[in-house]
């Protein structure tokens, strides 16, 4: 483990030509450039942290990469001129003038050869990734590679060879303005005391969950797709374990075509909840793998990652697939298909020919520009992205309407039944229930109808954790009274995001060990139960229950072939536009599915009956 490395900006001079650079050890640079005729190195600054040295270097390197020529006897003038340029840039970045000096570096130019032998290994290890030095050292340790030389020396030579990109972790934009190179955010960069560089440093608070990104650190990145096009094309076919419905078949063909054609770079898959989106992408994945491209399947939630990786491994048994999330042990493994949370994607750089981004509207991806930038950075040059969602955002819809983003529809579920349309229940006495006081008759009827009429389980969604605790207690009490048959024991459970027993409670609910699960929006996605109804309480809280959350919750019902006609209720003390919008979108999807002929014949009666209701 090392502290921060400091770099000096320099001019390497030959007989009549020069080039600019920055280094922590001038010997490496002289050794590297000696074959090009650069004999001497003149340091123009004291050692500076990467956040200062790299922008200063860029200010004098310009478009020509810092190379140029000079007339004999004018080297001193050249150096003075460069110092003036640096001082100009330093004012912008608030760097004191005392750091500038002209000093000829004493160098030993032979040491670099031994270090350079390790460059190909390092390049291969880092390919397609963007990491800090400490992360690279951990990666080398994981891969059991002991270089025997300083890691940063090897990385420096790779950067000189233009095979690796070095970025300051925090880049100054001006006086007191900074941007984090890892997450692309400028708002969360704050000053901190740092014992590593020994002064006031800056770090980014937006991406702290990924480890600290500091002003005195560098990020190293090697693009990932360089040699893949040279490899021969092979034939990869997915092993389809379930046969696709007509709607899925249509979409699957469209996505395969999307991967084959060169023009389009982005595609939106707009599918009903439970339509079977994942299977639809398998042919597109196979097509990308046939072309030796790496594939990324990114999802915002960890539990969904774990579920989908199993399906992908089954579909592609001969292809290497890794699963990445915060506690994954495969973090540094190489594979052709990477199934990852959107946070882990932040460590990839220009790596994937095909990116599939599932649940694009889910938290935290939908509200995080950092994660959105991470996905874009992980895509290789010329790579393609497939966005998948049941509830596309306004922005995506706008782009679709403008014709910028082509859309594939899967309006029907795989079993050919329509998505259960929600019934809006207006109950003025709901606030009493929120206070943990009384449970309105209409809500009791819904619970009774589900448990004793449909013999189904019931999801009760609530807006906050505090409300959840109260409602769970209240429902438990109600189950002991008529019309229920004095249900004793644990019939109701409550789970929320910070519940330590969440996994166990959900597993027991899946098994059918108890019938009612009170939960927050944490369970709005990813849960598939054979026989379940959905009740959203306080659905009028439109800041929490927006139309997309409501559609997702409604989508928990009727997913299985055994009980495709589940029931959904949105209960609130008033109608909100979000409730109506969610209902209308579901209705529209069902209509469309019917008109396209994707629904079973009996579905017509279901839709008609609902229309009359």
């Amino acid at each position: 483990m090392t502290g921060c490395l400091k770099y000096s900006v320099y001019i390497a001079a030959g007989s009549s030509h020069y080039r600019a650079g920055y280094t922590h050890d001038p010997s490496l640079d002289v050794g590297f450039f000696s074959s090009q005729g650069y004999k001497d190195i003149y340091l123009l600054t004291c050692p500076l942290v990467p956040g200062q040295a790299i922008p200063l270097y860029e200010s004098i390197s310009g478009e020509g990469g810092g190379k140029g020529t000079f007339a004999a006897g004018t080297l001193d003038q050249l150096l003075e001129g460069k110092i003036r340029e640096l001082k100009g840039a330093a004012r912008k970045f608030k760097i004191p003038a005392e750091v500038f000096q002209i000093k000829k570096a004493a160098v030993d130019s032979n040491g670099h050869r031994r270090i350079f032998e390790y460059a190909p290994v390092m390049e291969e290890v880092l390919r397609g990734r963007i990491l800090f030095l400490t992360e690279i050292e951990r990666l080398l340790y994981f891969k059991k590679l002991r270089l025997g030389v300083e890691t940063e020396d090897v990385l420096h030579l790779l950067c000189l060879d233009n095979k690796c990109v070095r970025l300051p972790a925090i880049r100054p934009l001006g006086r007191n303005r900074f941007i984090c190179s890892r997450c692309g955010q400028s708002d969360g960069v704050v000053p901190v005391a740092c014992a590593s560089c020994g002064g006031t440093c800056y770090h980014c608070e937006n991406c702290l969950s990924m480890g600290e990104s500091r002003f005195c650190q560098s990020l190293y990145a090697v693009p990932g797709q360089w040699d893949r096009s040279r490899l021969p094309v092979r034939q990869v076919e997915p092993k389809m374990l379930v046969s696709l419905s007509p709607a899925q078949e249509n979409a699957s063909r469209a996505l395969r075509q999307f991967v084959l054609q060169p023009e389009q770079r982005e595609k939106l898959v707009w599918a009903a909840c439970g339509a079977g989106k994942t299977e639809v992408t398998f042919r597109a994945i196979a097509e990308a793998l046939s072309r030796r491209q790496k594939v990324l399947f990114a999802i915002p939630r960890k539990d969904a990652v774990e579920e989908i990786v199993v399906r992908i491994r089954r579909a592609f048994p001969r292809i290497s697939v890794v699963c990445l999330h915060g506690t994954s042990r495969e973090r540094f493994s190489e594979a052709e298909v990477v199934v990852s949370t959107t946070h882990q994607v932040m460590r990839f750089y220009s790596s994937f020919g095909l990116v599939i981004l599932d649940e694009i509207d889910a938290y935290p991806y939908n509200t995080s520009p950092m994660l959105q930038a991470g996905i874009m950075r992980a895509r290789a040059r010329g790579g393609k992205i497939i966005y998948m969602t049941a509830t596309p955002s306004e922005e995506l819809l706008k782009r679709h309407k403008k014709g910028e983003l082509d859309c594939v529809w899967i309006p029907a579920r795989y079993h050919g039944y329509p998505v259960p349309e929600p019934e809006l229940v207006i109950e003025k006495r709901l606030p009493l229930m929120e206070a943990g006081d009384k449970i309105p008759e209409s809500v009791i009827n819904i619970i009774h109808e589900t448990l004793e009429g449909d013999l189904a389980q019931l999801f009760i969604f609530v807006p906050t954790v505090e409300t959840g605790f109260r409602i769970a207690r209240l429902v438990e009490k109600v189950l002991k009274l008529p019309p229920f048959n004095n249900f004793e024991g644990g019939w109701v459970q409550f789970c929320h995001s910070r519940d330590g027993n969440r996994e166990e409670k959900l597993a027991a609910f899946r098994k059918g060990s108890y019938p009612i699960l009170v939960t927050t929006t944490i369970c709005e996605r990813g849960l598939t139960l054979p026989r379940v109804n959905v009740l959203v309480l306080f659905a009028d809280r439109n800041k929490i229950f927006d139309s997309s959350a409501l559609i997702q919750m409604a989508g928990r019902s009727g997913r299985s072939r055994d009980y495709p006609t589940g029931k959904v209720w949105f209960a609130g003390s008033r109608y909100t536009s979000e409730m109506k919008r969610a209902r209308d979108i579901i209705k529209k999807m069902n209509r469309q599915a019917f008109e396209m002929g994707f629904l079973r014949p009996e579905a017509e009666f279901i839709l008609e009956r609902r229309g009359r209701c």
């Binding site: 921060c4 400028s186 708002d187 014992a195 590593s196 969950s209 954790v465």
Partner: protein, 247 residues
């Protein structure tokens, strides 16, 4: 990005949404603690249901001393900890130590100060000394988490922090996977008191993030007592549990 004064002005007009200082969720934080109901409940759970050892502060099922302290008394007078190294405290310490989230030191330090007030005699404390890191580790991490916590505690209990008094001279390997004996061996002679005058005859509060086996706290205490400290108390954010929680 707004300038400092402009930001302050904007916060006056549009106050920032308050959130729990420990977990960051937007659940309404309590008035005194600044923690949301879930974090508060989790921390209170241990004090409501279990006891802390009168000496080392580890959680035990009955009042009194834990088995370890009754067998061999530790060199420090008494230790205080906010709670066991689990759940929200574990996450907070992890964020502070390994993710570099220095803001996590504020709520943790404040919780620790509350505990110190209730469990230790603050009148006996003259200075606060954070457990030091070796220079190499400090260089790599960029900060000493115990020092950040000490600063917060000092602000709350109004006692000075003594920097660079206790130093670590040996860069010992991480203790995570070591047994108690190995830890003791690992830390032997690792610390030394740099300026003896500043601890002589003083009541010292030794501050660290986690108390696992007590090896670090004991080794530091021995050094401080040898240097002439009158009494040494220990305070950590998290501590161990000396029983199976199902008991």
């Amino acid at each position: 990005m707004l300038g400092g004064w402009l930001r302050e002005l904007s916060e006056l007009v549009l106050p920032a949404v308050t959130s729990c200082q420990l977990c960051g969720s937007r659940r309404r934080p309590g008035k005194n603690s600044g923690l949301c109901c879930i974090c508060q409940k989790e921390i209170d759970y241990w004090d409501e249901n279990y006891f802390q050892c009168n000496k080392c502060g580890r959680y035990i099922p009955t009042q009194g001393l834990c088995v370890k302290c009754s067998e061999e008394e530790p060199p420090f007078l008494k230790a205080a900890a906010v709670g066991p190294y689990r759940g929200v405290l574990k996450e907070g310490i992890y964020s502070l130590k390994f993710r570099g989230d220095r803001n996590a030191a504020k709520p943790l330090g404040r919780l620790l100060a509350l505990k110190i007030r209730s469990r230790l005699k603050t009148d006996d404390i003259d200075i606060i000394i954070p457990v030091p890191l070796h220079g190499n580790k400090l260089q790599a991490r960029g900060f000493n988490q115990a020092e950040l916590l000490a600063r917060e505690v000092a602000r709350e209990i109004r006692k000075p922090v003594a920097h660079n008094v206790l130093l670590k001279k040996i860069d010992t390997p991480a203790q995570t996977h070591l047994s108690q004996r190995e830890r003791e061996e690992n830390l032997r002679q690792a610390f030394f008191v740099n300026t003896v005058d500043r601890v002589k005859g003083k009541g010292v509060l030794l501050l660290d993030d986690i108390f696992t086996t007590g090896s670090t706290a004991s080794e530091c205490t021995r050094e401080l007592l040898e240097a002439g400290a009158e009494k040494v108390y220990v305070a950590t954010v998290a501590t161990g549990i000396h029983f199976s929680p199902t008991e």
